[in-house]
């Protein structure tokens, strides 16, 4: 069956546009073909900075024939019956005919959803695919996702078309014949072009295999994965010449593969003296502006070399390497200048200049934010009982955490915030924990990144994030849908991850309350109802915690723990004490993993406890305290004894939280046989009110133990 080949030739497309555009094309063309009744094989979208290409195998030569039933208005509305019994079409009936180009003879009646309606068959013979495809492709093109679109020439006035960059040519072939597809100011033909410099001539092609051969001859590697692999292999080989390997940098690789139609990596070198600067600064200089790959030795130390991926096969590789090295040297000199001048003054001297930097218009400057972070971090530190010397470090970390934002290097490379703070703090002789804390208060820097290792960075990082969340929610800018300009969701997730990982036992609500009061002390957010703000912030945090808990369970091999997380979050303590919630999730999920079917019956049994009590309470039967003297049956006495045994044991001391909660879960598991026997032998809702109340009281005592761990009604019983 024929193959479809479509190529959009463009002026150099933005690297970040290409992958999403191709992903879209693959899906959209597939769907459009199906919707057009054109059975087809695999849809492949590939591209380079100068072309987006779609190749579809085995497209049917004709559309499938269409026969569908069109239903119209109710028969009673479509027909009017004359006095003589003849029926004529009403305006509604005529309208249905006209709209669908039918004649009255086509009509019949059929039972619709709301009674009898008029209907007709619409038959449409399939058209040749070649006739359908141009409009189909033209329909898909304007929908290609484009963050920023542009017009060119007289485009806006003449053809109302915009795209990521100007379109230069279109190639559309179906079964070897050219299709006439119009997009922007171009009509498609049967020619393509190779590399901009190496093969600029137009080349006529009549098949996909010819097209691929033309690209190969034309120094174009269409496949993105192949370009990526070429860069990796060639660049790594070059890096070996410089006594190292490539510094792994997947995001950079993703960009660079879309900067060239075919990669021609070249090794460049720079002077050893630059290695005195922080590695992160050098790497930023190389990657951000120049898109060069850094070279590291086995120990991860930078080598004085880089790899630039050229886009054409320069006959003068040495000159090219030297030219790129010269650009890099000038950048390093600039960086060295900032690095030197930054260190002429201590990091702390930057603090007054934070008064000039606005955090958010309604929430004040970074100096004010720093004050709040200091207060909140200290408060949290005291809540978890940090010793005085550690508190001093926390306070100092908080005071300095934003100071590097006014340094020259961070001004030039915002992504080095924290890293330069750490470097400068060390240079100033600040305590090591403070230097590390400054860097780590930004951790985790992105999803999946590492968490703070030290207490200082952890506490200050939590305070910084809570302050942002409270503030932004306070000014009514909660994230909506995919719009989260202040990255509040990420901040909340980061907070939860740190609190749990560090096993910080404090009340989330208390922390939020303090964060709100820190704003109010500064006469900010004073028009907002503080109670409502505290509630909405806790609610917002709660919404992010669930995902964190599920992920943490999954990371321990306990997948599918969503219901257990919900059950644990609905326990008595709610989500206020995050490490405890996490420990209970782990204990229960592990119990389920260990016990399998037995856990299901355990959950069912405990669910039953909750259900009986709920029904009783609905009837206004408040369970009284249990009077053991009133219990008559062996089964209920046995349960009473087992329960008091668990209660009497109390919380063991000297074991960690995880162990504590694991034992708690095991205790509950051990109670189950007694509970099952109780339900087998005893009717809770006994006729004797005193007996009934005693039994309800017993169950309430049991529930009291259960809700300490989880709300078992939320556990899924299906395996």
């Amino acid at each position: 069956m024929p193959e479809l080949l479509f190529e959009i030739g463009c002026e150099e497309l933005p690297a970040g546009f290409i992958d999403p555009a191709l992903a879209f094309l693959e899906g959209a063309i597939d769907q459009a073909l199906t919707a057009a009744r054109l059975p087809h094989g695999r849809v492949l979208a590939e591209g380079t900075p100068r072309r987006l290409v779609v190749i579809v195998d085995d497209v049917a030569a004709r559309q499938a024939d269409l026969e569908e039933e069109l239903q119209g208005p109710p028969a009673s509305v479509a027909w009017s019956e004359g006095a003589d019994g003849t029926r004529t079409l009403t305006a509604a009936g005529e309208g249905f005919l006209k709209k669908n180009s039918l004649v009255a003879g086509d009509l019949y009646e059929v039972a619709g959803k709301k009674g009898t309606v008029i209907a007709a068959k619409r038959r449409e013979a399939g058209r040749p695919a070649a006739d359908v495809l141009p409009a189909l492709l033209e329909g898909v093109l304007p929908k290609i996702p484009c963050k920023k679109t542009m017009s060119w020439g007289d485009g806006r006035a003449s053809h109302k078309q915009v795209f990521a960059r100007p379109v230069q040519w279109l190639l559309a072939l179906f079964g070897g014949r050219a299709l006439a597809v119009r997009f922007a100011d171009v009509t498609s033909g049967h020619t393509t072009r190779g590399h901009r410099y190496h093969a600029p001539a137009e080349v006529s092609v009549t098949s996909v295999s010819q097209y691929r051969a033309a690209l190969e001859r034309g120094q174009v590697v269409l496949d993105r994965a192949e370009r990526k692999q070429m860069i990796r292999d060639l660049a790594d080989r070059l890096a070996k010449q410089a006594g190292g390997g490539l510094l792994p940098d997947e995001p950079l690789l993703e960009i660079v593969k879309n900067l060239v139609e075919k990669p021609f990596p070249v090794l460049g070198r720079f002077e050893e003296r630059f290695l005195e600067m922080p590695k992160e600064l050098l790497v930023s200089e190389m990657r951000e502006h120049q898109k060069y790959f850094a070279v590291v030795d086995g120990a991860g130390q930078l080598r004085p070399a880089f790899v630039v991926v050229a886009g054409s096969d320069s006959p003068q590789k040495d000159a090219l390497a030297a030219g790129n090295a010269r650009v890099l040297r000038a950048r390093f000199e600039d960086g060295a200048f900032y690095f030197r001048t930054d260190r002429e003054r201590p990091l702390a001297a930057g603090a007054p200049r934070l008064k000039d930097m606005v955090f958010q218009r309604e929430l004040g400057t970074l100096a004010e934010k720093t004050e709040r972070i200091q207060a909140l971090a200290t408060h949290q530190g005291m809540r978890i009982g940090l010793p005085q010397p550690v508190l001093v470090g926390v306070f100092r970390t908080a005071a300095l955490c934003k100071c590097d934002l006014v340094t020259g290097v961070v001004n030039e490379f915002p992504e080095l915030q924290g890293i330069m703070g750490r470097t400068y703090a060390r240079h100033d002789g600040e305590p090591e924990v403070v230097a590390v804390g400054i860097e780590e208060h930004y951790a985790p820097r992105h999803a999946g990144a590492s968490l703070p290792t030290g207490i200082e960075g952890a506490i200050v990082g939590i305070a910084d994030r809570l302050d942002t969340i409270v503030g932004i929610l306070g000014i009514g800018k909660a994230p909506t849908g995919s719009a989260d300009p202040f990255a509040l969701r990420r901040a909340a997730i980061g907070c939860a991850q740190i609190i749990i990982a560090q096993r910080f036992r404090f009340s989330l609500e208390d922390a939020v309350t303090f964060a709100v009061s820190a704003y109010r002390t500064q006469k900010k957010l004073d028009k907002v109802d503080p109670v409502a703000l505290i509630r909405s912030t806790v609610e917002f945090l709660r919404g992010r915690v669930r995902g964190v808990l599920v992920e943490r369970a999954a990371a321990q091999g306990l997948t599918g723990a969503e219901d257990i997380v919900d059950a644990a979050m609905a326990a008595r303590g709610g989500v206020d004490d995050l490490p405890d919630v996490d420990a209970r999730v782990t204990a229960l999920a592990r119990l389920r993993a260990d016990q399998g079917a037995a856990f299901v019956s355990l959950a069912a049994t405990f669910k039953r406890v909750g259900n009986i009590l709920a029904q009783a309470r609905q009837k206004g039967l408040a369970p009284a305290a249990v009077d053991p003297a009133r219990l008559v049956d062996d089964a209920e006495r046995a349960l009473y004894d087992a329960l008091t045994g668990v209660e009497a044991r109390g919380a063991p001391t000297g074991v960690d939280l995880a162990e504590l909660r694991a034992r708690g879960a095991a205790d509950l598991a051990r109670l189950r046989p007694s509970v099952d026997r109780f339900f087998d032998k005893v009717l809770v809702m006994a006729d004797d009110p005193a007996l009934r109340d005693a039994r309800l009281g017993l169950l309430a005592r049991l529930e009291d133990q259960l809700v300490e761990v989880a709300d078992f009604t939320k556990v899924q019983l299906e395996a």
């Binding site: 933005p14 970040g16 137009e202 054409s312 003068q316």
Partner: protein, 372 residues
């Protein structure tokens, strides 16, 4: 304020051996046709080995600063650009020259090329830094509407200077440009040669807060950088500006080093901030007043020049370090309001004159129902 990003450090390259060997002095205009008419194999045979793959060959390198300017002027004049002269007011970039800022508005065609001496007071380094200047030259080209083959035209202009795109890995790297103070935005690239940005290449989409019905393309060449590249010098002051018939060489330093020293002292230490703040306010008031003149209608061009003076006063104040981060946004907003006012009034003034430079077919496209 600066129209573009901070002028990155200038760099140079070794002279091109291939370029020196290249046979043709005039490769540019015929390139495309030659390229499309021949097979790659035929070209490979015909071309010298070092440029085997390239679609054309480069001219011998322009060896003086003024030669770079002369060749670019000649090249773009041949492409149909008017060669005009710089504005008489200080500007941070060629974009602020009325030949760009005002002329890109509206439907009238406009193609122009000029050198713009650009003032960036904060970038001065007392003549000591080999790459940074408080006064430097841009070569600015505006083509409206943007031609279909503008990338090829641009590459030919590099070849005309002696830069072979293959040998020097000339690439178009995404660079979306935005100038909030001018209400201007465009999409395009920074053009790299051997990893160095040599030109900003922008399709204007918006200017003065107005959408542009006809898109202009703006090419901004960094002249010092290109010349350092071509002359293989590390220090801008070592550039040969001209070689006189007597054989004497005049350097960039001979022409500008004293300026850089004196103006750096002025911009960083001696400029009277009280005067500058007062000037800012006066220029702003004057610009506003001129925009509101009723008879014979807004005096847009004088108003715009006063807006530029405001902008420059602000730039010097910035260099003096007396504008705080928080105040900065306020000043930029005031300049933006002036720029927008000028853009709107200018467009209205051209419309009132019936867009006199608009010709037949274009008139039908852009001014429907008008009496062409």
């Amino acid at each position: 304020m600066p129209a573009k990003k901070k002028q990155p450090a200038a760099k140079k390259r070794p002279a091109s051996a291939a370029a020196r060997r290249a046979p043709s002095k005039k490769p540019a205009r015929a390139n495309k046709k030659v390229a499309t008419a021949r097979t790659p194999a035929a070209r490979a045979k015909a071309a010298p080995p070092s440029t085997r793959f390239s679609s054309s060959t480069a001219a011998p390198p322009a060896t003086t600063f003024q030669e770079v300017i002369l060749r670019l002027q000649r090249f773009w004049a041949n492409k149909g650009c008017l060669i005009v002269q710089p504005t008489r007011t200080e500007v941070g970039a060629g974009t602020l020259n009325k030949h760009t800022f005002l002329r890109v508005l509206g439907p009238e065609p406009w193609s122009v090329a000029y050198v713009e001496p650009s003032s960036r007071p904060a970038d001065g380094r007392y003549g000591e830094n080999p790459n940074r200047l408080q006064h430097y030259y841009q070569f600015q080209v505006i083509l409206k509407p943007s031609p279909k083959d503008i990338q090829e035209q641009y590459l030919d202009s590099l070849r005309e200077l002696g830069i072979d795109p293959v040998a020097f890995d000339v690439r178009f790297v995404e660079d979306d440009w935005e100038h909030p103070a001018l209400g201007a935005a465009g999409l395009g690239w920074e053009v790299w040669a051997q990893g160095m940005e040599v030109t900003q290449f922008t399709y204007f989409q918006q200017c003065g807060g107005l959408d542009l019905p006809r898109v202009s393309v703006e090419l901004t060449y960094g002249l010092e950088r290109l010349a350092m590249y071509l002359q293989n010098v590390e220090n801008v002051y070592d550039l040969v500006w001209a070689q006189l018939p007597s054989g004497q060489k005049i350097s960039y330093g001979d022409v500008h080093k004293q300026d850089e020293l004196e103006w750096s002292h002025y911009n960083f230490k001696h400029a009277d901030t009280g005067t500058l703040f007062a000037q800012f306010n006066q220029f702003e008031a004057e610009a506003k007043r001129l925009l509101d003149v009723a008879e014979p209608g807004a005096l847009v061009l004088p108003a715009y020049e006063h807006a530029l003076k405001c902008s420059h006063a602000f730039n010097v104040l910035q260099a003096r370090g007396v504008v705080s981060q928080t105040e900065r946004a306020g000043y930029i907003g005031r300049v933006r309001d002036l720029a927008r006012g000028c853009a709107e009034r200018y467009l209205a003034s051209r419309a009132a004159r019936g867009f006199p430079m608009l010709t037949g077919a274009d008139r039908a496209l852009f001014v429907e129902g008008s009496h062409a």
